[in-house]
């Protein structure tokens, strides 16, 4: 794998070594190695079925590896780390009959914010962060797709996690909302939060500090967007060109 610009970091937020996983007889992850330092946004780019969601499910502890290891701040993923990890699944995964505030309040309780006064503040802060304070009492069924995505993001960061695992959180968002999301993500990484985001759009890729191109369950290249663009050898290459170039080279 061309490991462009990536360096091993002893203070890694995520440390993956030789990670393997198969669904039955079908291999999904084929020996992934990855180090993500704290306070960066790392984009996992790849086509549908490349193994992005499986990788994230391993990092939240929902799937156990068949081989190798995946560590978060040196610890095995699982419920013990839930208070420091935020997760957005591919589906919005919200309770449609409940309001924005009720959803965030519920997930805050699940994430261990049992003190009511602390939780109320956390929920208000999360709603403010995703720009939904004025829709706090709106029921989810009455919200647009973009607003639901924002609620989903709010539910993932209500407990102020140090690591955010986002599985295609920008799918279906309009460009304006996508920019707003990335503004949030930038502010979070500036404050030391690590973000791993899976996507199959190059638009998201351009916003990430570092990227990993994934194909058939392995990273075919990692590096900054600029480093990956330069890998094609052409000065005006896009990330899409780089992905296609590296994908072809690895086939």
């Amino acid at each position: 794998m061309p490991d462009i610009g990536a360096e091993a970091n002893t203070d890694s937020a995520i440390s993956i070594s030789g990670l393997e996983f198969a669904h039955g007889n079908r291999p999904v992850l084929n020996g992934i190695n990855l180090e993500i330092p704290k306070g960066v946004s790392f984009g996992v780019l790849g086509a549908n079925g490349a193994g992005k969601t499986t990788l994230i499910k391993m990092l939240i502890g929902r799937l156990k590896p068949d081989g190798g290891s995946a560590l978060i701040s040196g610890q095995q993923p699982g419920p013990e780390l839930a208070d420091s990890v935020g997760y957005i699944p591919q589906l919005n995964a919200l309770y449609e009959a409940l309001s924005v505030r009720e959803n965030l309040n519920f997930f805050a309780r699940m994430l261990g914010l049992s003190d009511k006064s602390h939780r109320i503040k956390a929920v208000e802060r999360a709603m403010e962060l995703v720009g939904l304070s004025d829709r706090a009492d709106s029921v989810i069924t009455g919200l647009s797709g973009g607003m639901r995505q924002r609620v989903s993001l709010g539910a993932a960061l209500v407990h102020e996690p140090q690591l955010l695992l986002l599985d295609e959180p920008t799918v279906g968002l309009d460009p304006e909302l996508r920019a707003t999301f990335w503004q949030h993500f930038k502010e979070m990484t500036d404050s030391g939060v690590t973000i791993l985001i899976s996507s199959h759009t190059m638009d998201d890729a351009a916003h990430c500090d570092t990227l990993g191109f994934m194909r058939d369950g392995v990273f075919i290249a990692t590096g900054t967007p600029d480093e990956l663009r330069r890998s094609t050898g052409k000065p005006d290459s896009s990330l899409e060109d780089a992905f296609l170039h590296l994908s072809k080279a690895s086939a």
Binding site: I60, G61, R62, P79, E80, A82, D83, V85, Y87, P89, Q90, L91, N92, A93, L94, Y95, E96, A97, L98, E102, F106, F107, R109, M110, L111, G112, S114, V139, A155
Partner: protein, 243 residues
Amino acid sequence: MSFDRKLAIATRIAKEIRRDRRSLAMIIGAPVIVMSLIGFSFQEQKPVLNQVAPALIATMSMFFVFVLTGISFLRERSQGTLERLLSTAVSRSDLLVGYLAGFLLFALIQSIIILMYTLFVVDVEYSGNIWDIVFILLMVTVTSVSMGIFVSTFAKNEFQVVQFIPLILAPQIFLSGVILPTSQLPGYFQTISGVLPLTYANRALRDIMLRGASLSDVSTEIGVLVLFAVAMLTAAALTVRKT
């Protein structure tokens, strides 16, 4: 394991069901319609109705509660919220106890509607203490809620849950003494009958409603129903995190 998480799950479920007006109407209306149909079709043969009523009450309670819980729990999976819940520090017992408490209220309301409607509108004659009957129905409800959760962990969609209804409930209806007394079943079916919760619920309700037995008279049946409830809850707990 946390009391706050259990309480949060239970109150959330109650809130969701309360806000779904149509489902709420069905929870109340469907048992009334079904019991009316069965009850009033037996109006010319009241002694027969009095004989079958205990088994009918237990069977209908189990049926409606099983369907309510099975479908509701599956919805949690299909909308992705279970996946999200399982990424938090929520434990199996938080999930199961929270669900049980959340559904129990509505399931119990449904069971009590079936009972009251059968006793006071369809006008089935009974002896024994009505609170003893309610207690046995509570046991049936707890077992059915646990069974609904357990079975829904094996289904990927609503269609599959519906397929489980005849698979789980039909043997109980045919082999628990609802149609034929268990003593008249072939030997191998009597063995199967001995491991079905509805057999014990029917037996206890018959003893109370037809013979005026007390709870202590049916303590064996209660013990077996408690065992079933615990076994189903344990089985649900073991499978829920693997979904």
